[in-house]
Subunit: 449 residues, 2 copies
């Protein structure tokens, strides 16, 4: 790759090893102002402005030349199943039930902790390479996922996906698995990783189990991560069985608070949106997955924003996307809202960028998603030298509608440099390990690769 913006050496592995006080010079902000950014070795941004290099050069251990790049906040993926990268492309274009029962579940039955470790490593690599610095994950073998995330040095909220269908024994096992994750994550003493309780959905976890999940989350002061109103069937069934919407059911079980992140919300009613707003809960929008799985309706963004609900963005897992590229997700979110709700002004570029950054950080419960003093240094340097970023009439529009993940040159999370000039130190090892792990999974399932 050509090096258009004066990066000296990509081989300086030292760059990636630890947090150091760092000066980024001559970078453009989305408002087209050229500034320097200085953050200290705790990973907190201390100064942003045109004179920062002059004032703080002596305090910085290293300097990154930011000329020819645009600085935007690191992206936040608020709903995914990271390890499902191992299933990328394994089954597509099928009817949902057939897809699940004939393809996904039989393969998942053979999953081990090692597969989840490598799947999560691959997911983190893909996220770093496309500018995502934090994600909200729900899957199985989450201690192995935690190990992978901890090595990858990005932020994550990790939950064991709880599915009980009313079975008490299963519920006990699931709660035990959750408890294990919560304690394991605490034992890591990482400022970047937290845990959540993950009751899968109101249609897979009955109200009494939901209530216990809510209490557990409250007691442990952790997030509650769930799926909500993804399909019409789910809403209709809930109305038939419980005489209320899934949202009302979650609320009755005590599951809606400002520490709740519910994914999808395609079939929310206006009343549901009002209730979510009153509870301060967050909705993670997953437009690609919703479109691919033909949910039939786009999340009602206009109602949610009217009612003051914080709406963030997610990719869902790689079985229904099939990538983790949040730049692509932003574009599809913005055009899907316009298309489905038939309003060409809905979800403009600046709002979808907030959705993928500050709204995401808010949903996951940490201060972040903005480049300003006092915020963590979660920063992307996006190349202004890609054809898709030319011309630069409107940097925010180019980010939302034109750039793809490959335009991200540098990814910094909490002050640590994770990618520079598109180089990630352990990329080759991860690609090799994840490829082998995917082969191993197929072998175990008796499928020829």
């Amino acid at each position: 790759m050509i090096q258009p913006h004066g990066i000296s050496s990509i081989q300086d592995k030292e760059l990636f090893l630890k947090n150091r006080s760092t000066l980024i010079t001559d970078v453009l902000l989305p408002n087209k102002k050229q500034v320097d950014i200085w953050y200290d070795d705790t990973g907190i941004i201390r100064a942003v402005g045109p004179e920062v290099a002059k004032e703080h050069r002596s305090e910085a251990d290293i300097t990154l030349d930011g000329s020819g790049t645009l600085a935007i906040p690191g992206l936040v993926n608020t709903h995914t199943h990271g390890a499902m990268t191992l299933l990328r492309g394994y089954a597509d274009d099928m009817h949902l039930q057939q897809w699940l029962s004939e393809k996904i579940w039989p393969l998942e039955a053979h999953l081990t902790g090692d597969h989840v470790y490598w799947g999560t490593k691959l997911a983190c690599l893909e996220m770093i390479k496309s500018g995502t610095v934090a994600f909200n994950d729900m899957y199985f073998f989450m201690k192995d996922a935690a190990r992978a995330v901890d090595e990858s040095k990005i932020r994550a909220v990790l939950s064991h996906g709880i599915i009980t269908f009313g079975n008490e024994e299963k519920f006990e096992t699931e709660l035990k698995a959750t408890d294990d994750v919560v304690h394991y994550v605490r034992s890591l003493h990482s400022p970047l990783i937290t845990s959540a309780i993950g009751p899968h959905a109101p249609y897979t976890v009955p109200p009494d189990h939901l209530s216990i999940c809510a209490e557990y989350g409250h007691k442990e002061k952790i997030l509650l991560h769930t799926h909500l109103a993804e399909t019409k069937q789910e809403v209709d069934d809930c109305q038939k069985t419980y005489g209320m919407t899934p949202t009302a059911l979650l609320d009755k079980a005590g599951c809606l608070s400002d520490r709740t992140v519910a994914a999808h919300g395609c079939w929310l009613s206006e009343d549901d949106c009002r209730l979510l707003g009153e509870r301060g809960s967050h909705i993670a929008h997953n437009p690609v997955s919703n479109m691919k799985l033909a949910t039939g309706r786009a999340m009602p963004y206009h109602w949610l924003s009217d009612k003051g609900v914080n709406v963030s963005l997610g990719t869902d897992g790689c079985s229904s996307n099939n990538n983790l590229d949040m730049l692509e997700e932003m574009k599809i979110a913005a055009i899907c809202q316009k298309f489905f709700w038939n309003l060409d002004t809905l979800l403009p570029a600046a709002e979808v960028l907030s959705m993928a950054t500050s709204c995401g950080a808010k949903a996951l419960g940490y201060a972040g998603g903005e480049i300003k003093e006092g915020m963590p240094a979660d920063i992307l340097l996006v190349s202004l030298h890609c054809p898709s970023m030319i011309p630069l009439h409107n940097p925010v529009s180019n980010i939302a509608y034109s750039a793809d993940g490959g335009a991200v040159d540098t990814t910094i999370c909490n002050g640590r440099i994770l990618m520079r000039n598109r180089y990630v130190p352990d990329e080759n090892e991860i690609i090799k390990g994840a490829s082998s792990s995917a082969d191993d999974l197929l072998n175990r399932a008796g499928i020829m690769a």
Copy 2:
């Protein structure tokens, strides 16, 4: 950028200068077979198979190491307005009429041939970098566009966009401009560039003018490129004024033949689709533009394919997309069809890849879009080393749903290598020239950059 698949030198500018007999070794095909590909210095593929390197090495002037890459046919963008890359991000998220009358048209009024030259150069660069080797273009100053395309060495069908609203004088000027393009393109003696007649749409060109356009196209044996049934308004107005659909109107004017490429088709009726099938006409699907501009309906792919209509893919111009990335367009086409028509099996990965390759070549009237003996060497080598291509359960699915334009490592058009290891020889000059040209356009329009 790391060089994972053994490319020796990206600085070998010789590689790009002329057509040479070329052997590509150890490349994977979408069916997961590993082969070598040999094409001669006329740009025609002569052999594809596992023993080709052994048999033809002595006949090849150069060898490209294809290990670690997937070979797919070059992509074909069958509807765009190339020079509108200069307007990328200039205005978004507005109501259509306000967007046109307050933003796009006032700026376009200041366009010169030089802007179109640089806009088209930028468009060609962006296409080469994201794997597109042919495009169907409609805009103004098309001799300048032709100059840019000729330098870029990709395929194009160029048409001057004819808008008359019934004004005879305007029509005469537009026909003269078309005639100029047709003769200029012929004078280039390029095997890659042809021209078309471009009556903009049935609502901007009345039936008598459409008839004359059809006759002109027939006489010159060139394509007819138009817009069709993009909005409901257009269909309703046509019914009210002429008592028939825009498709029937085009047919009555003699505009529907197997040399017709009509863009959009969102609001086609089932009868329209049957008529298009009978005439052998081609529909260019532009899902991103349709979604962004909130057309309210997705092109009825199931009806069109039922009636045997060849459906190809396009990006539309950068004002309504805002990029020219056909890999992204494939994904959005596949998920948009599933979503809008509420059918999760509609437009599967293999069909959308054909739509973007062989169906595109068919629409533009040349043999191509397949990697096999006798076909032109329009070949992409896609890196299998990107996280988004791992694991490789299904190469076609990864291409359709996961990869973005940045995964394309090498772009070859008609045997000429245009990009290798993501290096395009004149990238810097084009980016500089196009950026200056965009600034100049704003200056002329009295807008501060």
